[in-house]
Symmetry: C2
Subunit: 238 residues, 2 copies
């Protein structure tokens, strides 16, 4: 068997690598987590990670690809609750309750790590458990800050500001994991963006086109390039 260099490199982009480091492992191959981690598992487009209402047990660390979360609202309508990009942890908001309250599935082909959260306690030493919990607590708090910031953007602002904020948000999250932040692919449909932001799909399209005509961004289908980050940012300062 050849040395596991490739997955080691991939692992650096993902939250699991951080988790491994917290465990006191210096080797990035995460070997001593193998009992509770399903590593580098491929997922197909539209493959569901977890269903709304099913018992909560696993956290999913996105290696590559991206995911979308949907939830059922009052009146049985559905709503896009969020997106997970490479390196992020899907399912962390389920901690502390019996069942999952979103349905999360892959937007494109990719790979994930599956971490058996329920088995953490029985598997790790007390010291290891403290470190993993500390790490997850930090991640959950980070997630909450992220949501708080996003919540503060919706409603008050114009559609243009919301779209700009959405793009900057995706860019900064990609940047945080070492991916190119000025040229990337929006894996979700225009409709999903609209649903997520609470706008009409037509407004999303018109606004993107308008930003393009002013040379702030360049879009071709799902591929986006941020041409003038500072002007895009200054749109948010109202």
């Amino acid at each position: 068997m050849q040395p596991n260099n490739t997955s080691a490199v991939i692992c650096r982009n993902c939250a699991l690598y951080q988790t491994a480091r917290v465990l006191g492992l210096e080797t990035p191959d995460c070997s001593s987590l193998n009992r509770i981690v399903l590593r580098n598992h491929p997922v197909r487009k539209n493959e569901v990670l977890y269903h709304e209402g099913e018992p909560f047990r696993y956290l999913y660390l996105i290696h590559s690809g991206s995911c979308i979360s949907n939830a059922t609202m009052l009146g049985n309508s559905h709503r896009v609750m969020g997106f997970y990009l490479p390196g992020e942890i899907a399912g962390i908001e389920n901690i502390g309750q019996e069942t999952c309250n979103h349905t999360t599935y892959a937007l494109e082909k990719g790979s994930i790590c599956q971490l058996d959260f329920a088995a953490l306690e029985g598997t790790l030493s007390e010291n290891e458990l403290i470190n993993v919990q500390k790490y997850l607590l930090g991640s959950a708090a980070h997630h909450a800050r992220q949501l708080q910031w996003e919540r503060s953007l919706t409603g008050l602002q114009t559609a243009e500001q919301q779209i700009a904020a959405f793009l900057m948000n995706i860019a900064s999250r990609l940047d945080a994991r070492g991916f190119p932040a000025h040229q990337f692919r929006l894996p979700m449909s225009r409709e999903a963006i609209a649903d997520y932001l609470g706008l009409a799909m037509e407004t999303v399209i018109r606004t993107l086109k308008n930003l393009q005509s002013r040379n702030l961004i360049d879009i071709k289908a799902k591929n986006i390039e941020i041409l003038d980050e500072s002007r895009l940012n200054s749109l948010l300062a109202s």
Copy 2:
């Protein structure tokens, strides 16, 4: 000194009581937390718990009264980020970073418990620490779910739906801590509600008045009574 019955009773309404239980204490007086907890500390109206940018160290468990969080946005404008009601934990979203990113102050006279988060690790036994971390992780995840739900309400809906959702949200949070959920006081100003929801203050006022004229709620100044919960809920199912 007389037995500490009153604060023991108060303590049942607050997150600290839960924290004490996780620590394995059967007595609700939280006595063995005293080294890291400042208990039942009175706060005046407008008294600041923590400032944006100052080092993060404490969690604040609201005994009585309520708090509001503000944050500085791009362009030095300010925005209401959230409210904390009795029994909730202010500051939990700061975990994992060096500094606080909101300014949080009391909306009215009340009392709080201050928990020295930084000193948790050195003070508690490994087993106790695991339990406290587990509890805080659950609280942070709960907070994230709450924010996710709130985020999903803003933007898509009409002003009326947002106001209705806001009222139901406050009511359910009060209900969760054993307070009356159909008749309560809105401790924050109309302007703060508007800012929080991303609406104009005038819209908040007009919408509340409209709900009142349809006998869904009754308002006198800051005192609100929910007259028809089911119809109020059905507004959300669009």
